[in-house]
């Protein structure tokens, strides 16, 4: 088992000059306390750097090496840094050193190209050659599984992805889990046997071609084999493309996740831009309406005099009408003397007729015509004035103005909102972000096309296999010496291939059960919720909390996610042949005191060596001491000298 003994740093991050942390060789926990920005991430990165030559920034993006060296030293013109890890594995002492040195002729580095990387591995005092060193490191800690040893609590999303069989990040992690658990030994045996089965089929076909009796079958088998080889190559090519596309998709997904806020702002701005265009078009229409209304707006000023004239004209009209009606009645009485009244059909007495004639003025023919013309002119004028009054210029204009004002206010509000977003997007490379989104959509389409291509090729391969099998059956009935021995060989490889093919599935199933059982044991010790019965595993090693009534808890908090991720790590340590230290950054940030207490108590049971990178509030030293007791093997403090310089100080060794 890999066990860290010391970590030597020279000008790495805030660790100026030469500094060292020594770890106890006895089983237990070492705690490194440090406030934010003191260098906890740098310590996790120092281990990553010494093993894999990489440094990871926030998220999972690699950090440029020229930014890793101590800034104070760099500003004084001293560039470069070094990390050395002393460790024990399988009873051997190792010293792994990786140094980043400035290339000749470069005085102020601006990119990774300005540096050269030197690394060497000493085993029991002897420096190993490059190939041997690489093979040893690959065996001791393969990079693909390093996430289970170097655990960053900030990357919990990756573990959540395991719950969905859809995400590429989930797929990558579940592959890493299978790697740590030894599945590749079986999958690689399956691949070898598949290759040898194919090879033996080809040999059988060649042998059959060499004999008169079996030549025809041999030729057919050779053709099918050649076709199968091509189909196999095509599938291999497509799977390679699919892997690349998936990994590209995962990187793009990651990039988009990191820029989620910016992407949301961009999307919002696009929506506002569309709205602004719509408002602008409304404004133009409304302004045209106002303009049209304004061309007759002067009428509003005359409304009162017009109303007064209208009133007097209507009064005159009424007088005239009365006068004409009276004249008509009188005339009718004169013409029809003794006839009943035309209005009430009552008989009119002579006396009454005389009285009427005396009170009414009888119009002459000329007068009557004049009055009619006057009435007709009056009515025309009244109608014209009425139309004028009814047109309501005042209120229409007011409505139009109000509408326009509303539009302008809306426009101005939206424009301010857009300007605000623009300000926030000032230093953002919009083009790059849009390109990422475009590339992401393209890669999804590409994956779809490749998957369909693979399915189609597989179906052709199935047909080929069925045809081959049918011919082999017919060939089996014909016996010749060479063909018989090649057939026996082919049948043996075929059976071996089938055995290992089934073994992959069976072993995976066993592993899942073991990981589920161990993770559940850890979970029950860590959770403070008595109703939780354990964890249930899915096909990708994602773990879901199981209630004691048998139902699954579909949603969990960040704290619960943390606990479940730690349970998975503990279960993997129990089941993996590669055991080693767990270095955990920020393990308690999202946990309450009771969960923190449970986890601290359980850590020594997860693996032999645990290194915690924490801050005081997250894990108070008193709590750690009382829970870990004798299992607390070391306490270190990251002490601030200045913003660019941190010192490592031992509190307890």
């Amino acid at each position: 088992m890999l066990q860290i003994k010391a970590l030597h740093l020279e000008n790495f991050g805030p660790f100026k000059g030469k500094q060292v942390i020594k770890f106890s060789v006895e089983d237990g926990v070492t705690i490194i306390y440090g406030e934010n920005m003191r260098g906890k991430t740098s310590l996790l990165n120092a281990i990553r750097f010494v093993f894999f030559g990489k440094v990871i920034g926030r998220g999972t993006k690699s950090m440029p090496l020229h930014k890793v060296g101590n800034w104070e030293e760099a500003s004084a013109g001293r560039h470069g840094f070094m990390v050395r890890l002393d460790f024990d594995d399988g009873g051997h002492n190792y010293e792994l050193t990786r140094r980043c040195v400035l290339k000749n002729g470069v005085s102020s580095p601006s990119s990774d190209d300005d540096y050269g990387i030197e690394h060497y591995l000493k085993k029991d005092g002897d420096v190993l050659g490059p190939q041997q060193s690489q093979a040893e490191l690959k065996r001791i800690l393969p990079e693909q599984i390093s996430r289970f040893f170097l655990f960053d609590g900030e990357l919990l999303q990756e573990y959540e992805d395991l719950l969905s069989n859809e995400t590429d990040m989930g797929r990558r992690i579940s592959e890493a889990i299978e790697r740590i658990l030894g599945v590749p030994i079986l999958t690689s045996a399956r691949a070898t046997l598949h290759h040898l089965k194919e090879k033996s089929e080809h040999r059988e076909a060649t042998a059959a071609q060499g004999d008169q009796k079996t030549r025809e079958f041999g030729n057919q088998l050779a053709d099918l084999h050649a076709q199968r080889t091509e189909l196999g190559k095509e599938i291999e090519r497509l799977e390679g493309d699919l892997d690349k596309a998936r990994s590209q998709k995962a990187s793009l997904e990651e990039a988009m996740k990191k820029k989620e806020r910016v992407a949301a702002l961009l999307e919002k701005r696009d929506t506002i831009e569309k709205l602004l265009k719509q408002i602008e078009s409304k404004r133009i229409t409304k302004e045209a309406e106002v303009q049209r209304a304004m061309s007759t707006a002067w009428c509003t000023l005359l409304i009162e005099p017009v109303r007064a004239v209208g009133k007097s004209l209507r009064e005159r009209e009424s007088d005239l009408q009365t006068e004409l009606m009276r004249a008509d009645v009188l005339k009718s009485l004169q013409v029809n003397a003794g006839a009943p009244c035309p209005a009430c059909m009552q008989e009119v007495s002579l006396k009454a007729q005389e009285r009427l004639q005396a009170s009414l003025h009888c119009l002459s023919g000329g007068e009557r015509l004049e009055k009619d013309v006057e009435l007709s002119n009056l009515r025309r004028k009244i109608a014209a004035l009425q139309q004028y009054e009814e047109s309501g210029h005042e209120s229409v204009l007011k409505i139009l103005w109000d509408g326009l004002e509303e539009i302008l206010i809306d426009y101005s509000a939206k424009r301010s909102e857009r300007d605000e977003i623009d300000k926030q997007l000032e230093n953002v490379d919009e083009e790059a972000l849009r390109k990422t989104k475009f590339d992401f959509e393209s890669v999804i389409r590409q994956i779809d096309v490749i998957e369909k291509g693979i399915a189609k090729t597989r179906s052709a391969l199935d047909e080929n296999n069925a045809d081959t099998e049918a011919i082999q059956k017919r060939l089996n009935k014909l016996s010749t010496g060479t063909v018989d021995s090649e057939r026996k060989r082919r049948q043996l490889f075929s059976e071996l291939h089938s055995l290992f093919k089934e073994a992959v599935g069976a072993y995976r199933e066993q592993l899942r059960k073991r990981v589920e059982a161990d993770a559940s044991t850890h979970f029950k010790a860590l959770t403070t919720e008595p109703e939780y019965a354990g964890l249930q595993i899915n096909g990708s090693y994602g773990l879901t909390i199981l209630h004691r009534d048998g139902s699954l808890i579909p949603v969990r908090s960040a704290g619960a996610e943390h606990v479940v991720a730690l349970c998975l790590m503990g279960a993997l340590q129990n089941n993996a042949p590669l055991r080693g230290p767990i270095v955990i950054y920020s393990p308690f940030g999202r946990l309450d005191r009771n969960h923190t207490r449970n986890i601290v108590r359980a850590l020594p049971t997860m693996t032999k060596q645990v290194v915690l990178l924490v801050y005081d509030d997250e894990l108070p030293p008193d709590l750690a001491r009382s829970e870990l007791k004798g299992k607390l093997r070391g306490e270190w403090m990251l002490e601030r000298v200045n913003a660019r310089h941190t010192n490592l100080a031992s509190l307890k060794e």
């Binding site: 088992m1 594995d89 399988g90 093979a135 690959k138 065996r139 030894g182 590749p184 030994i185 079986l186 690689s188 045996a189 691949a191 070898t192 046997l193 290759h195 040898l196 021995s485 026996k488 060989r489 043996l492 490889f493 059976e495 071996l496 089938s498 055995l499 290992f500 089934e502 073994a503 069976a506 072993y507 066993q510 993996a576 042949p577 590669l578 055991r579």
Partner: protein, 70 residues
């Protein structure tokens, strides 16, 4: 066989062998258990190249067929 394996590698090899052997005895009993174990052993060297793995398995199978043919 186990002299170059670490304790943990050995325990993993045993776990894999148990699975393969159980399947062999249940469904592929005509296969020779020693040959199956050797093939698994060849692949437990995770740092080996593909060509070396193929060669190792072919040699084991040829050896087995020769012995069987004698």
């Amino acid at each position: 066989m186990s002299k170059n394996m670490t304790e943990t590698e050995e325990s993993q090899f045993q776990a894999l062998l148990e699975t393969v052997e159980r399947l062999r005895s249940e469904k592929f009993s005509s296969l020779d258990p020693a040959l199956v174990k050797e093939i698994l052993w060849v692949h437990s060297n995770t740092a080996a190249e593909t060509a070396d793995l193929s060669r190792g398995v072919e040699m084991a199978v040829d050896r087995f067929l020769n012995v069987e043919g004698e």
